[in-house]
Symmetry: D2
Subunit: 259 residues, 4 copies
């Protein structure tokens, strides 16, 4: 099965580049399943019902989230019933709406999608190492995809090795910068530290660059705004053996599109 995983979709520029290019990408790369990190899809922060519907309608099959999952409160009204949205699994049990993983089916093959947050330089969620052990014990299909939304390269690479051979692909999100370390780990897991961001190209992580520079130099309050102009697409294509769940290939996709 061939997957396209899309890096953090940021605001309207991110959604627009998907509208313009996604169906063609799916065709060109013979994609079976599209997974996108959508924690910044609505106005740069969080997700609304309207934005989710818009993105599902253009061909996204599964959405993963991250530390900004709750940034737009509207998500509390639909995450419980929307089984295609996966939020980080290591939020506390019992109090967190939504689901941290789910099993889907395409072309008669099942695949699981797991979302986890890192903890280094981030919130004190539950241990992602133990949480993934716990989830993997419950999942029965061989194809398992993990979006590990984390800041520190050490934590991401360590979790990659930790699940090597037990998941089909573990890719990172959150830094909004694509890394060039895609590889297949010794036991068959496709890995990349970060798949990047799909949003405004001429920006700091999707935000207007002058505003971010102002923040770093003055420490005064600013209002972050999604940048304008040319957009970039960041993602990966990977292929998984349907029976073994082992990765066959992983390739970075990275292009820009004028407005």
């Amino acid at each position: 099965m061939r997957f396209l995983a899309i890096g953090d979709v940021v605001g309207r520029p991110g959604r627009n580049i998907l509208k313009s290019t996604l169906s063609k990408l799916k065709e060109n790369y013979k994609i079976d399943v599209v997974i996108a990190n959508c924690e910044n899809a609505a106005g740069g922060n969080g997700l609304t019902k309207k934005v989710a519907d818009e993105l599902f309608s253009i061909g996204i099959d599964v959405m993963t989230m991250g530390n900004h999952v709750w940034a737009n409160k509207e998500i509390f009204s639909f995450i419980e019933n929307e089984t295609r949205i996966i939020r980080p699994a290591n939020y506390p049990e019992g109090t967190t709406p939504g689901r941290g993983y789910n099993v889907f089916e395409k072309n008669n093959f099942k695949f699981a999608v797991i979302n986890l947050c890192g903890r280094v330089f981030m919130e004190n969620l539950d241990c992602p190492f133990r949480k993934i052990d716990e989830i993997l014990r419950k999942i029965e299909c061989p194809i398992v995809i993990v979006d590990f939304h984390a800041e520190a390269t050490s934590e991401k690479i360590a979790l990659g090795f930790y699940v090597d051979g037990r998941v089909s692909c573990l890719y990172g999100t959150h830094t909004h910068v694509q890394t060039a370390d895609e590889k297949i780990l010794p036991n068959g897991t496709a890995y990349i530290t970060d798949i990047g961001m799909t949003g405004p190209y001429d920006s700091v992580l999707g935000v207007d660059k002058d505003i971010v520079i102002q923040k770093f130099t003055t420490f005064l309050p600013v209002r972050f705004e999604v940048a304008k102009g040319k957009a970039q697409f960041n993602g990966i294509v990977f292929e998984v053996d349907n029976n073994s769940g082992k990765a066959i290939s992983i390739e970075r996709i990275n292009f820009t599109l004028e407005e």
Copy 2:
């Protein structure tokens, strides 16, 4: 002028791959100047006189450092007199040995090299934005290279835009993972968020992966050891116009070598 910048050299595996490949690389890419981040060159942490001499002797022209600059105390005995080693410029004035930038000459053209540390998720050093303004006021040659040793992608990209048009190239180091966002910014500065690591391939940032996993899962004390096995080279080649100091090109270099 054509530069090769090499990502954090980690321990013996990092030095060995340079010994085997550097002269050939210089030839192939017609390199005039080689700059390497050497904060992890000695045993994975810091720098010794012997290791510095070894690396200068195989063709490194300038060494930059980072948050691990003082990790091996031996550096205090030679950094003051070794004008080819540049440590982060935003350590406090007056108490920090060594220099935060220097101007060199090659083929009758001058070039400056500046090293700075980020502050997000790192130490509370002086503001890198104001520090680089201060340094750029003192530098008179048009070719200026910056190694910005930082963790957060936002801080790195923001500083890149901040100096766009005022330096020839600003590249990031420290995360030990090469990013795939090399570009020339609108006003002529070559930029990449991180040039990566030159050291053990099958590792977590150069460290034995099992030790790092043990640390993340137990929180018990461990002794980090440089990993063994296949090595990787991570770096960039960029070309700068000798008169204007503007970047002409930037290209990632990324290969592995069996032991």
Copy 3:
């Protein structure tokens, strides 16, 4: 001269207990000057003109601030002209409105008030150690009071020793919990790690306790609200020799008042 320094005033409960008790406190303790940390005075976050006027009118002479100084944007409209409000001096030079210290006069004696923020576990402002050296070089009166708004006990105690003999009193704010380590340091500076909070007693740092517990246990978004009920007063009284500027005494004040 005798000073009363009041710990972070939080919302209406903090203002009300001051209205009820301040004039009596001043009389009982023969107070010449009242300084209050007001970073949380307006609704628990920041300061408005109305709240500032209210607090000046009941007998506060000088207001210091902290990391929440900009939390209510209204402050940008009056901080520049209100010479009795002192914000942290180690915000960047040139871009920060207001002043980081000022010299006042009472009973024919001058006294300076300085406000600084810590950096450990907080924002990357300028070095408070170098900044206070710089400010002390400019101040000519012997009586100098410092509100060091910081999180880490190590940074607060270290700065206290650093300025021992050079300022009359350095007291901490920000943790909202009064410490029991008031003392006069060897060279004559009165010191206490934190003077505490003046606000709702039955609360977590002034905030409704159930909301804070919910935040810690669920990691879901919550809206912090100032707690209700009984209020507490936290502060110190210290006496300074008018001619030498040395501290003569330091005493904690700590009481509660039913609504």
Copy 4:
């Protein structure tokens, strides 16, 4: 039953003041049980067998620890068999030696001692809120004492309220500065944010003050050394109703002793 809880014992100065004063303190305050935080008892960092034996022999009944529990590796050789040493309970299950709580008996009454670490500004251990729920379900005696070793005042106060009425006393350690907020919470739990440090008085958290100032001002490597001179004792005495487990009183103890 009457308890004496002693704040982080730091090095020889901390041990010496206990040798000189503990038996008298026990007599004066009619103490039944002495609990001491010993994470810094051996040379300022960690605990050795010799130091533990020395402290048990002078009248300490139970030792609690903190984030420095593993700082001296020797502890791995005896923590498993020494049932009177309690390390933070929220280290991961299954891989952590020693115990996070234990039940003891004195004068025919049982009492439990629990040790937990905070997470704010500290390591990503397991959630202390859920962990204490889990432990309290297993403990059957009414008298329960908690040493919550944490940095942030918010986390400490929140956990205090969270267990109010379910434990006899929750006191904080780790900041090495005693707070002045001792109280009995509405449902009967004695509470104080930090009981302080027992060690060198003229120091920064027990460490030589000049070394700490040097660290804060230069960011160069330093070797922390336990300070010399006058020592301080910091702790609390609290009384608990033997049958209900409710707190009857809590009082701070805070004195210094010349060498």
